[in-house]
Structures are given as structure tokens and as C-alpha cells.
């Protein structure tokens, strides 16, 4: 403030002197000297007045370096989300090869819904240090960007993450989703049951995956094999279509009796057709066919519970 005042005063006075000096030098009479002084005073005072009309002399400047230093000195817990982002960006700017900071920033941006930026940051982090967790985050950001679809790019990221660390549940889950979307229910079941097997019984993610897998794998519209042969005839009623589907499923199960996913679909269809005993029988058959697999068992438990819930709701 003091420095500013001094500089402004000096600049104003020097400029006023400069402009009025030709008048002062040629002034021979008091009136002429007065005119020179008047010009000088006018220039200095008018400039000061015009400045003060909108100036904020007490407000210090704030170069970004000052902001950066302030954020770096603050306790991370006290930072607002915007400040956290700025702090992370500052670290990344300073240390462009800091894989951890890049990954953190990528996660932050993904959480904020800025998926394009998140993907770029996660990719940068991976270029420095390939890591299963970051690959997983990248895959998830790609899925979010593509409105829930597991694109080939995302699938590649999940596959790489899964190859590096099979214990991570997310890559296996999304690889299962990719297989399911491609119509390969067996592989999907393998991925999902595998995750459940590896997770401790108390892990909430185990229940989440079981419920989701049970729902997806028991959906009749999941693959072309469920409808049996041929398209739906134009004059077919919904009941006739369901009957044809059940017949198709049963025929398919005769050919592939170990296909647990088909048994799950049959169980759900029977439950919808108000045949709970048939549904339970199908689940029991699926359980038998899957042997003692803990993961598949958890999915079938989830399906059984879902069917019971549907029954009680009805």
C-alpha cells in the first residue's frame, strides 16, 4: 500500500512536470507561471481522481504462485473440493511424473463427473507406473463416459488390471459385465462367482455382486438361446410366447444340463408364471450342477431370496 502510494505519487508528479515543463520554461510573467502550475496540478490531481473513482488501493494482487503456496500450507482436511483439485493440479504441474498425484487427480475428476479429463490423468499416471488400481479406475471412468457400457477400451483396461491383480473385485465384475453383454453368460458367471469366492463373507461388496449377478443372469432376454428357435410369430399372445420360451429353455437344458445360467432363467420364468415350486426345483438343480462352488451358491441364494421377495410382494 505504501509502495503503491509512493509510486503513484511519483508517476503523477513526474508526468505533470513533464507536460507542464514547456510552459514553465517559457513563462516570463507570473500569470504564465501560474498557468504552468495549474496544468501541473490539474494533471496530477485529475489522474488521482480518475484512479480513485474505481481503484481499490488496499486490495493486494494475487498471483497464482501466492494461491499455490497458500493451498500447499493448508491442512488437506480443511480444503474445499475446488481447493483440493487446485492443490493436486499444482503438484502435477510441478511433478509431471508423479504417478500417485496423477491418479489422485484422475479419481477426483472422475468423482466430479469430468470423465474426459479423468481418463487423461489416469492414462498419464499409467504411462509412468502401470498399476492395477489405476487401470481399474481408468476402466470405470471409460464406462461412466460411455453411459455404463463396457467399451472394448474399458475391457482392455479391466483385463490388464485383472491380469495384474485377480483379487480386485471391480475388474472381474466389469469383465463379467462385458462377457454378459456379449451373450457369454458362462464366462460372466465365472467372473462373478470368482469374485464372491475371493471376498470375505462379511464384505458388503459380496452381497452387492451376488444380487446383481442373480438379476442379470436370470433375465430371459439376456441372449438368443433363451427364446428357442425362430422369431416371435405375429399372432402369438404373451402367454404363448412365455410357454414357448419355457419349452425352449427346457429343451436347451436337456442338451446342456450343466448350464447353470439357463437353470437360473428357468427359475425366474417359473416364478413369474406363479410356479414357486418349479422355480425352487430349478434353483436346486442349478445348485447341484454347480457342485460346491461357494460363489455360484451365493448368487443362487440371492436369486432364491429375490424370487421369495417377489412372491411375498404378490
Amino acid at each position: 500500500m505504501i509502495a503503491l502510494t509512493l509510486i503513484i505519487a511519483a508517476l503523477g508528479m513526474l508526468t505533470a512536470l513533464w507536460i507542464a515543463s514547456p510552459l514553465a520554461r517559457s513563462a516570463l510573467e507570473p500569470m504564465q507561471r501560474l498557468a504552468a502550475f495549474g496544468v501541473m496540478a490539474f494533471v496530477a490531481l485529475a489522474a488521482l481522481g480518475a484512479y480513485l473513482a474505481g481503484g481499490s488501493p488496499g486490495l493486494p494482487g494475487q498471483p497464482y504462485s501466492v494461491t499455490e503456496a497458500r493451498l500447499a500450507a493448508m491442512d488437506p482436511e480443511e480444503l474445499s473440493p475446488e481447493e483440493q483439485e487446485e492443490r493436486l493440479r499444482a503438484i502435477v504441474r510441478r511433478e509431471p511424473a508423479n504417478a500417485e498425484a496423477l491418479a489422485y487427480l484422475g479419481r477426483f475428476l472422475a468423482f466430479d463427473g469430468r470423465h474426459l479429463e479423468a481418463i487423461a490423468m489416469l492414462e498419464r499416471s499409467l504411462r509412468v507406473n502401470e498399476n492395477a488400481r489405476v487401470l481399474t479406475d481408468l476402466g470405470q471412468a471409460l464406462v461412466e463416459l460411455n453411459e455404463g457400457n463396457v467399451t472394448p477400451e474399458a475391457e482392455r483396461a479391466f483385463a490388464a488390471a485383472h491380469a495384474r491383480d485377480e483379487t480386485l473385485p471391480e475388474p472381474a465384475f466389469f469383465l463379467g459385465v462385458a462377457a454378459y453383454e456379449a451373450g457369454d453368460r458362462e464366462t460372466a458367471l465365472e467372473y462373478w462367482s470368482g469374485i464372491i469366492r475371493r471376498l470375505p463373507p462379511a464384505d458388503p461388496f459380496r452381497e452387492v455382486i451376488s444380487v446383481r449377478a442373480a438379476d442379470l443372469l436370470s433375465r430371459p432376454a439376456g441372449g438368443p438361446q433363451m427364446l428357442g428357435d425362430g422369431e416371435m410369430p405375429e399372432d402369438e399372445t404373451p402367454e404363448q410366447m412365455v410357454s414357448r420360451m419355457v419349452a425352449g429353455l427346457e429343451a436347451g437344458l436337456e442338451a446342456y444340463p450343466d448350464d447353470v445360467a439357463r437353470w437360473m432363467v428357468l427359475a425366474r420364468v417359473r416364478a413369474v408364471m406363479e410356479n414357486p415350486a418349479g422355480a425352487r426345483a430349478a434353483i436346486a438343480e442349478a445348485r447341484t450342477r454347480s457342485g460346491d462352488d461357494d460363489g455360484t451358491g451365493a448368487i443362487l441364494d440371492a436369486l432364491e431370496r429375490a424370487i421369495q421377495v417377489e412372491e411375498s410382494e404378490e
Binding site: A3, L4, I7, I8, L11, G12, T15, W18, I19, A20, S21, P22, L23, R25, S26, A27, Q32, V39, F42, V43, A46, A47, L48, G49, A50, Y51, A53, G54, G55, S56, P57, L59, P60, G61, Q62, P63, Y64, S65, T67, E82, E83, E86, R89, R93, R114, L116, E117, A120, E123, N146, T151, P152, E153
Partner: protein, 642 residues
Amino acid sequence: MIAELGRFLIALALVASFAQMALSWVGASAGRDAFARAGRAATLAALASSAAAFALLIAAFIQSDFSIAYVAGHSHVDKPLFYKVTAAWGGHEGSMLLWCGVLALFGYGLARIGPMDVNLRTRAVSIQGLLQTLFFAFLAFASNPFDRLDPAPLQGLDLNPILQDPALAFHPPLLYIGYVGLSAAFAIAAAGLIQKTPGRALARALRPWALGAWTSLTAGISLGAWWAYYELGWGGWWFWDPVENASFMPWLLGAALIHSSIATEKRGAFPGWTIFLALLAYVLSILGAFLVRSGVITSVHAFALDPERGVWILGMLGVSAVAGLGLFAARAGSLGEGEGFEPTSREAFIGANNLLLAATAGVVLVGTIYPLFIELAGGAPVSVGPPYFDAAATPLLMVLLLLVPLAPFLPWANGGAKPALKQLRAVFLLIPVAATGIAFILFGAPVMAVIAGALGAWALCGAVMDVANHWRTAKSRALRLALSGRTLAHAGLGFIAIGAAADASRPADVNRVMAPGEAIEIAGRTLTLRDVRRADGPNFLADRATLDVAGGGTIAPERRYYWAAGQHTREVGLGSSLAGDLYLSIGEARPREDGSAAYEVRAAFHPLVWMLGLGALMIVIGGLLAVASQILIRRGRQEGVA
């Protein structure tokens, strides 16, 4: 401190400009040399203050001081340093500071190397001071680039991505030197009217200023057109956009002015018209500023602003127009009568040139402001686009092009077309003209393009004949520079006409969704998409496509996402050759059903488009040579006086 110091310097420049106006006025009116010298001292004070303020603004951008609202609105920490600097004039407030700085520069220039008549010079400095005062007041009180934000935001909003381009970094300064340079011609013309200076002397005094300003305006407009061609992604270089028109109108009147001032200076012809043009050209420059900055029009080039600022500019427009044109109405009689001339004289052709240029400016003005008047009258919004301008302005410019090669061969005063036609050796000229016409017809060009191409060839050959015939008779260095300037400028027009005609005849664009390995064909060239890779920059994410051109070469367009600004842009890929430009842009990824990635690709071929750039460059060099010639002539006169 930077912000507050910058604000004070703007205030100081405002007061210095006022002092420049008042002291110089007293100096000129009362014949008081001390006051005139004080006025001259004030010009330097205004220039130094505004230059220092501008330097401080650039420093604030480099430091990313987001407590300054203008910096916060137009910058970001991650923006490259070059664009941090150019952002200083990338928005309204900063560009207004640049405008004011250039005004002060011309004020200082007038004081140092203005008209040789000292009293006329002092008066011109005073009038320039008035113009400076108006603009600095607008800057200080309504568009201050040092306005503050408290609390300051953590980050800036970044500069509009389409402005982050080298061509657009230089386009505004050149354009402003052009616009504002016309203020010097305005100031001299107005001063001359007040002093009752004869038209001939006035034309001599203002001609170098008009030439310099017009040359810079040409360079600025050309850079803008080039930028629009490759940056906006649709391949057009001129769209009769209101903002383009806002710069084109003063350019047309400036072109008329530099020609009519020759006739006035050499023969005393149309003195009133020349002075009127000098006044009107600057008024139209301010009109351009109003159109760009008031928010009354929508354009990719416009600064979106509140109408309040428009009222300020309208006020400045009113003061300049009323003062300048009012003075002209009151004092035009003092300019003297022009000498007579024959219809086949050079004066007559310069007059015709002026009529055509002024008529074209009128046509452009009507088309540009018509939608505003309709809206003011309560009508539904309308837009006037290329169909109107192509139909109304292009034919006038074609007639102009027909006359361009003839005028240099015509004698002054008594005229006589015969020697001119003989010298032109019409037969030799008609051969390339006919060849060009046939070539365009073979390519299936529209009729107007065939005519424009042939006229371009006509102008080009005329320029060659002009220099061949007159070089021997141009004895002094100044005359040779002037002849070279004229030749280059007229030949440049020819190149532009041929380039524009060729571009109007280009084959249809090809739009295709392509996956890597797939190919498209345009204008007989096969382009294969090799791959699309990430090519991120410091403040943008980018997908860069690489397309192989059969026969050699690659073209790499990009699609960028500027994350701070939240905007997507297309960076065009160009494959340039003598035949023309292969023009490629890449759009969004469109995944196919099998999950593979494919991309929208737009391909175009712009034949002979380089001729547009070459033509513009030749006009600019021609203008600079003409300015150099004027400097030499002036120096000769000064030595003669001494």
C-alpha cells in the same frame, strides 16, 4: 500492486490525452508555441502511460493474477505462455486498452512526423487528443481491464479456445493499427477544415497516414480470413459476417481514400470528396467497434457484451460523426475547387474507382445494419447473408477489377484512351484471360467464378504491363517504390480474384465416418485413416487422426477439448500443394456396432487457395512500398525546404 498501478496509468493516460487536446488547441488557436510543445509532451505521456499499463496487463496474465476480473475471465494457469500474453488483447477490455494505446501512438506520431505545416500539425494533435480522451474515458470508466475481484477465484476461465491461435494473436493488433490509423487521417482532415487548409495540401498531409492504416487493415483482415479458413473448421475464409463487414467497410473507404488523395494531391481533383472519405472512414471504424462490442450482433468474432457499453461507443460515434461531418458541412468550401478533367483521363478512372468502392461500402453497410433496423422497428429478427452480398457487392467489385489495369495507362487531365489501349496490347492480355476462363469452364465453375477468374488474370497481366511500361520513366527511387507498390497491390487483387474464383469452383466436400484402415477419395486423391491417437496439450485433450495421402504425405487433423473452457474445437489438417489445399477435419468418435471406434471425417479440396494468401501479402507489401515512397518524398520536400 500491478492491477492498481495499471488502473492509475490508464487514468494518467486519460488526463494526458485531455491535456494534449486542450494545450495543443490553445497552441494552434493562439499561436502559443509553449502550449503546442506542452501538447506534444502530453502525447508522449499518454503513449508511455498506456504502453506501461499494457505491459502491466501482460505481466498480470503471465503471473495469472485472478484478482483481476479480466485475467480471470480470459486466462488459466495451464495456458501456454504465448497465449497468456496474447490473451491481453483477446477480450474486450484488453483489446480496448490496445486500441487506446494505438490511438496514443498515432497521437505521438502526429506530433513527431505529422503535417509539415506546424499549425496544422498542432491542430491535428489536438483533435487526436479529443479522440484519445473519448476512448480513454470509455476504458477508464466502463471497460477497465484492471477491475478487481474480491475474493479472487482459484482459477481462471481460460481464453476462448478458438482465439488460442498464432494468426489471431497478430490479427487484432494489425486490425487496430488499421482502424485507429484512420483516426490520424480524420484528425488531419478535421484540423485542415478548421484551419481552412487547401484540399491539395491536406491530401498530401493525410495520404501517408491513410496508406499506412489501410495497409495494416489489409494485413489484419487477411490474417482474420486465414484464421477463419483453418480454425473454424468449415473451410470458409469470408462469410460476410457482420464483424467481417465492420472491417471491410473502412477498408473499402480507405482504398477509395488512398486513390482519391492521389488525384487530389497531383491534380487538385475532388478535394471535398477526399476529405469527406478521410472523415467517414474513421467514423465507419468506430461503427465497426460498436457492432463488435455492443452485443447488437451475433458473430463468432464478436465480443459478447452488455448494451451499456454499446451506448458509450454510440456516444463516441456520435461525437466523431457530428464533429467531423458537421465541420465538413461548414467548411468544405475552403478546400478549393478541383481542376477539370476529361472522361478518359486518369482522374476520371480514379473517380469511377471511388464510386465503385463507395457504392460497395454502401451495399455492405445496408446489409450489415438492415437487421438492426428491422429489430428496432419491432420486426422479427432477420439475417442478411452471402446471397445478398454476393448479388449486390460482387458485381461492383468485378467492374472495379475491369477498370484497375486501365487507369495507370491513362494520362492526367486531358485524357485519351487510344494510347492507353495501345500500350495495353489488348490482344496479349486477352490470351491469358481467355485461357483462364476456359480452364475454369473445364472445371465446371459457376459463371460468376469464370468471370472473376478471367478478370483476375486481366488485372494480373495489366499489373505486369504497368511495371514493364513505366519502370523506365520512373527516375527517382521514390517513384520506383511507388510504381512497385502499385504493381504489387494491383497484381495482388488479380491473385485474390483468381483464388476466390477457384475456391468457388471447388468439388463437393466429403463427409464420412471412418475407422482406421478405411479410405476416402476427394478431388482424385485417396486418403487412408492410419490411426487416431491422443495428443494432449497443456490445457487441452486431443485426438489426432493421421491420414495417409496416396502418393506420399500425411495430414493430421485434431479434435480438441479445452477442459478449463469446457469447449471442443476442431484443428484442421491441411495438405498444401500448388494445386490447392486438402482440408481435413475430424469430428466425434462414433463407435460401430462391433465396438470398433470410427470417426467423423470431413474432407474438402480448396483449389488455388494459396493465391488468396499470396494476393493479400502482395497488397500489404505494395502498401508498405507506397508508404516508403511517401517517406522518401517527404524527406525530399523537407530537404528542399531546408
